[in-house]
């Protein structure tokens, strides 16, 4: 399989569990998961309407892997990239998804006002919370590694091992697929 364009959600999944990322790259969705995604979309449409524009940005990773960032809303005037999420606040996967977007924007040469890099923000309307997300140099190095690993994973015929912590799988939407 040729490597797919890698998006932010996959990067988030990879951080959670490579097997989950592999299943997703194969189009093996869990129903609950697709419902959660649909609910997420509904959330973005209903919350924070002002001055937001959805955008699709493409770039290429240092190793040549094509990247794509589907952005919920970029507030160009304020120089803030927003990502709306439902559920638990500040999950590792969410944070890395936003860092990935900031990275793609930087690679694509998109900047905020005055040429400053954009800042990231996670919005949790259901929790009435927001979390700032920054992209540091070390994060960029890690993202480059994750993207290379994802591209290699996509070419792999069999799924990666299950997550080493069984208890971790208890809150994963793919549990029934992995252990059913």
């Amino acid at each position: 399989m040729t490597a797919p364009r890698i998006g932010g959600m996959l990067v988030g999944y990879w951080r959670v569990c490579p097997r989950k990322a592999w299943y997703s790259m194969r189009g093996l969705w869990m129903e609950q998961e697709s419902e959660a995604v649909a609910l997420g979309r509904l959330l973005d449409r209903t919350s924070y309407r002002r001055r937001r524009r959805p955008a699709l940005i493409e770039a290429t990773a240092p190793d040549g892997t094509p990247l794509v960032a589907k952005l919920d809303g970029v507030d160009l005037r304020a120089g803030v990239l927003h990502e709306t999420k439902k559920g638990r606040s500040c999950e590792d996967a969410h944070v890395w998804q936003v860092r990935f977007y900031l990275w793609v924007l930087r690679l694509a040469g998109v900047t905020g006002p005055g040429g400053r890099p954009l800042r990231g923000q996670l919005d949790y309307p259901a929790l009435r919370r927001t979390e700032p997300v920054a992209l540091e140099l070390e994060h960029e190095g890690h993202l480059a590694e994750v993207v290379s690993a994802l591209a290699a994973c996509a070419r792999q015929d069999v799924p990666p091992e299950r997550h080493p912590r069984r208890s971790f799988c208890r809150r994963c939407a793919f549990e029934a697929l992995c252990y059913g």
Binding site: R26, G27, L28, W29, A176, L177, Y179
Partner: protein
């Protein structure tokens, strides 16, 4: 949790905002008499309505003669609700299978690959037969302990065990089918003994006859198998599996032949146990069967009772060992479909088919 809904009356099903409305009609049809060919719905609308909020519906089963229009079909498809249609006799007729929403090209390719390569196909076909026979053994064992005259049940058990031992040896699908057929035959022949002398007299059985079912037991088995097929098809619809590519059955035996493969595993557990229980508790009586067109069928009341018991059974739960929590019998079918997905994506994780442990 959305559930399956079973519509027995005639009438018209419509969309009213986010609700399904069944406008009921009188039962004007005369059974066995040629239906009118004017295209008009049978019966006249009575004004009686039943309302179903769409979120509460997982699938629909139409046993009555139901009129529906394109607008409703579009709505049901958007809501991902499959609709199973049965004919007047309760035979499965068709499914309105909504557009797929979980698709994986790679999985479909893997499914086809496993069909085309004989060794791979055989491995899966064996798993379906093996699990089916295993579950038949569970039913026999369960009942062997509960009947006075154990000999016929013990005999059937021996035959099924002998045939099951051949599953890993047979090298072609037709032989595997024959193994399954012989085992099932011996199994069905033990039914009168499992029912006990009193019921065996009321429900005589002379082996399995499908089209048309020759007696009450055959009618019940056929009806139950149709429900099981529909349940398996729904489970497949909720996964990215393509229901038309199958292994034990030839694709084309039925349009959704993979549902037949899966049903092989679950019929003993879901259908056969339900029937034996319905008869033993007297919930199904001889009066719930009628002769039509040279066959025997469940009456509408009989079907209602069967469906009630079926629905209860599907929602009964059991503690799942690998997941470590309670799951419904219905969910077990979906989990087996997931196992099939795992098999197709990872040879180190073979599908063995669900095996009841109780």
């Amino acid at each position: 949790m959305p559930r399956d809904h079973y519509l027995f009356s005639n009438g018209r099903l419509r969309r009213r905002q986010n609700t399904l409305w069944l406008e009921k009609a009188t039962e004007d049809r005369v059974p066995g008499v040629a239906l009118d060919d004017t295209g008009a719905p049978s019966g006249t609308l009575t004004g009686e309505k039943a309302v179903l909020p769409v979120e509460a519906v997982d699938a629909l089963h139409c046993f009555g003669e139901i009129d529906l229009n394109a607008k409703l079909v579009v709505f049901l498809a958007q809501q991902r609700i499959p609709v199973h249609v049965y004919d007047y006799y309760g035979n499965y007729a068709a499914t309105l299978y909504p557009r797929e929403y979980l698709l994986s090209g790679r999985l479909t390719v893997a499914q086809a690959e496993h069909y085309l390569r004989p060794a791979r196909r055989l491995r899966l076909a064996r798993a379906f037969v093996g699990a089916g026979l295993y579950n038949i053994r569970r039913v026999l064992r369960y009942h062997a302990r509960r009947v006075g005259d154990e000999a016929p049940v013990r005999h059937a058990l021996a035959v099924v065990e002998r045939e099951a031992a051949r599953v890993p040896e047979e090298a072609a699908i037709p032989e595997l089918m024959a193994v399954e057929g012989r085992a099932r035959d011996a199994y069905y022949r033990a039914w009168p003994a499992m029912l006990g002398p009193r019921l065996a007299e009321v429900f005589p059985f002379d082996g399995r006859q499908r089209r048309p079912p020759s007696n009450a037991l055959n009618a019940a088995i056929s009806f139950g198998n149709a429900l099981c097929y529909a349940a398996c098809l729904k489970a497949l619809y909720r996964t990215a599996l393509d229901p038309t590519i199958s292994y034990l059955h030839e694709p084309g035996d039925r349009r959704y032949s993979l549902a037949l493969d899966l049903a092989e595993v679950f019929k003993p557990l879901l259908v056969d146990r339900a029937i034996l229980r319905l008869l033993k508790t007297g919930r199904l009586q001889p009066s719930h069967f009628e002769g039509r067109l040279g066959g025997t069928y469940l009456t509408e009341t009989g079907r209602r009772r069967f469906v009630e018991a079926w629905d209860e059974r599907l929602r009964r739960t059991v503690r799942h060992r690998r997941l470590g929590r309670h799951v419904s019998y219905e969910r077990l079918i979906r989990l087996d479909a997931y196992r099939l997905v795992r098999h197709l994506t990872d040879p180190a994780d073979p599908y063995v088919g669900f095996r009841a442990w109780w």
